[in-house]
């Protein structure tokens, strides 16, 4: 193991962390507004398929990214309708979205299996990319890597430093109070869930256009669920989500890099378990912490709001 190994490991870390980061900042918005959306895995899968198919048929990457976001946002709209307007059980509705997204992408994506499409290429930032070690890790990545970090910063700023963000948080903390102050609880929740959906779609697009530039059924492989865990791990804060996403990206990258240099090839299943076991460990650690000092869980998370009932 030498410098080259670590450079490739860290570069892979950033790539593996990017879809997680995109998905997590989106889910943070949905949950901050009080709506738990367990449909991330399904929305990601739909985003991945839509992006790949669009790129396959049109060769237009920009359009592929846009349609991936729209497709996933449409799925999240179903969840928003059921959980906000119909006040349905959010856990079951979210699960249904995941099953639907995974199923639908498999159903519609059958002709895409084994095809190749135009994919996202990397974009080196001049001068910075030439810095040894740091250059290849941070500044020779693709546009979505930079976008995801930028999005996390902007969404953090909006959530904590603007009136708009305050509105989102108050709707998630105390919807009745927010309502009495004249905020449109339903509208804010709808918008936040849609933002979450669009971001999950972008995360999916990253998977099929760059990370594994192919369409494979079930290619999300639990990443949508890791996103939901990361949302808790980041204590609903987009800045901490950057740290969390790269931490998990690192675990995923490590698993691949170790395999690439021939470690654990006789029983790769144990390496493949790593991200899932890490998720459990991370959740346990954060719960230990939570016992000591209650952290930022939105008070009305998962509870439907009905005017005049609370």
């Amino acid at each position: 193991m030498d410098v080259a190994f670590f450079v490739s490991l860290l570069a892979h870390t950033v790539q593996a962390g990017t879809p997680l980061l995109l998905g997590t900042v989106g889910e943070i918005y949905a949950e901050r507004s009080g709506v738990l959306n367990l449909g991330v895995e399904g929305m990601m899968a739909m985003g991945a398929l839509t992006a790949f198919a669009t790129s396959f048929y049109t060769g237009n990457i920009g359009l592929a990214l846009a349609l991936a976001m729209i497709a996933a946002a449409l799925l999240s709209l179903v969840h928003a309708f059921l959980s906000i307007t119909m006040r349905a059980n959010q856990i079951v509705s979210g699960l249904a979205i995941t099953i639907l997204g995974l199923g639908l992408s498999g159903f519609l994506g059958k002709p895409m299996i084994g095809m190749t499409a135009l994919h996202l290429s990397s974009f080196s930032i001049p001068i910075l990319a030439d810095i040894p070690v740091v250059g290849p890790i941070l500044f020779s990545q693709d546009i979505l890597v930079y976008t995801s970090i930028f999005a996390a910063l902007v969404l953090w700023f909006v959530l904590f430093k603007t009136r708009l963000g305050l509105n989102v948080r108050s709707v998630g903390e105390n919807p009745a109070m927010a309502d009495s102050l004249g905020l449109n609880v339903y509208l804010i929740r709808y918008v936040c869930v849609l933002v979450g959906g669009a971001m999950a779609g972008l995360a999916g697009a990253y998977l099929s256009l760059l990370y594994t530039p192919l369409w494979i059924e079930g290619m999300t492989a639990g990443k949508g669920w890791i996103v939901i865990a990361l949302t808790i791990f980041a204590t609903w804060n987009p800045l901490r989500a950057i740290f969390g996403a790269y931490l998990f990206g690192g675990v995923i990258a490590l698993q691949f890099r170790l395999q690439a240099i021939g470690i654990g090839t006789e029983a790769p299943q144990f390496l493949l378990m790593l991200p899932y076991l890490t998720t459990i460990v991370a959740l346990v650690l954060i719960s230990l912490e939570a016992v000591r000092r209650r952290m930022g869980v939105p008070a009305a998370l998962g509870l439907p709001y009905v005017r005049g009932e609370s």
Binding site: A96, L100, L104, L108, E217, A267, T279, I280
Partner: protein
């Protein structure tokens, strides 16, 4: 109401069939065809066995708002444990062997359920995520065994164990694949029903499900209740896994379950967490899986077709719940 959801779920898939160039009427005819011929019907019962066991196992934790998404992993651990027993006691009588396989399957499925139960009750660790992550771990663990130490040397490299000896196979109805697991499933459904309706624990579950705080004031031990419920629930999923290896596949192999544990969530919800209602719903969903195969072979549709059906049905069930709630409110006034 569930029937309406079912029909609506089916009908709403029509545009999807059109999107992939398949005549929806042809597709629906394939689905209905399953229920009007003997082979289709018996196969539906076969597929219903793991669905029934796993879904009645889910009725328990769901009743107390413990969201166990891990039936799939609990099922895999049951299948693993049952197979381990076959390797350990290959020469014992069918009675001893099958009995041990059932007990081991139940215990290992149960243990896989205890882990998230303990974490939730002690540390408030989100059980949706821990149960889900444990699914991946259990599936990979079985993969490790069937690709590695347990692989059949005469299996041409396929990821599967050797066939089970005759004494490790559940008896079945001749001419069908319906095995004795069906009786086990029906007995368990009745037992779980009694557990819920007639015992103190069943009552405690209901109180906890309605309000954990109220349950606490009533002196209900949340930790003990969660552990008990998840051991039984996971154990039932483990039994489903035992039935799969011992009654249908007759060996352990890669991908032993096409998602029975996830379908079971939908079934439990559709049955309104009533274990007796889970019986007909499981048979219906068994038929749905058979229909999925027919659509795959007959019309060249993807395996995922059945997932789409199931998700659409679930969405309508979830949406319809509000309407039924509304009806209750109306009769009140």
């Amino acid at each position: 109401m569930p029937v309406v959801s079912l029909v609506l779920g089916f009908l709403s898939a029509a545009p999807l069939f059109l999107a992939v160039g398949v005549n929806p009427i042809l597709a629906y005819r394939q689905v209905l065809g399953v229920f009007v011929n003997v082979d289709g019907l018996t196969e539906s019962f076969t597929r219903a066995i793991p669905l029934l066991l796993a879904s009645i196992g889910l009725c328990l934790p769901f009743k107390m708002n413990f969201w166990n998404i891990g039936a799939e992993g609990q099922l895999f651990m049951g299948a693993f444990a049952a197979t381990a027993i076959v390797f350990m006691l290959p020469d014992s009588s069918a009675f001893v062997l099958l009995g041990s396989m059932m007990i081991a399957g139940f215990i290992f499925g149960g243990i896989w359920g205890l882990i998230p139960a303990y974490l939730k009750a002690r540390l408030e660790t989100n059980e949706v995520l821990t149960t889900l992550m444990l699914n991946f771990v259990a599936i990979l663990w079985v993969d490790y065994l069937v690709y590695g130490p347990w692989r059949d040397p005469e299996g041409f490299g396929f990821p599967l164990t050797p066939m089970f000896p005759l004494n490790a196979r559940l008896p079945w109805i001749p001419g069908t694949r319906i095995h004795a697991g069906l009786i086990v499933g029906l007995v368990c459904a009745v037992l779980v029903y009694i557990f819920l309706a007639r015992t103190r624990w069943g009552y405690e579950l209901k109180v906890t499900g309605e309000s954990r705080l109220a349950a606490k004031y009533a002196g209900i031990d949340y930790l003990k209740l969660t552990l008990l419920v998840m051991f039984i629930g996971g154990g039932l999923a483990g039994l489903a896994g035992m039935g799969l290896v011992s009654g249908i596949v007759l060996r352990l192999r890669h991908g032993i379950s096409p998602g029975y544990g996830f379908s079971a969530i939908i079934i439990a919800w559709l049955a309104r967490l009533n274990p007796l209602a889970a019986v007909p719903v499981s048979i219906l969903f068994g038929g749905l899986l058979v229909a999925g195969d027919a659509l795959q072979i007959g019309l060249g549709l993807a395996f995922a077709t059945t997932s789409v059906f199931q998700a659409l049905i679930l969405l309508f069930v979830v949406g319809a719940e509000v309407l039924t709630r509304y009806k209750v409110a109306l009769t009140w006034e």
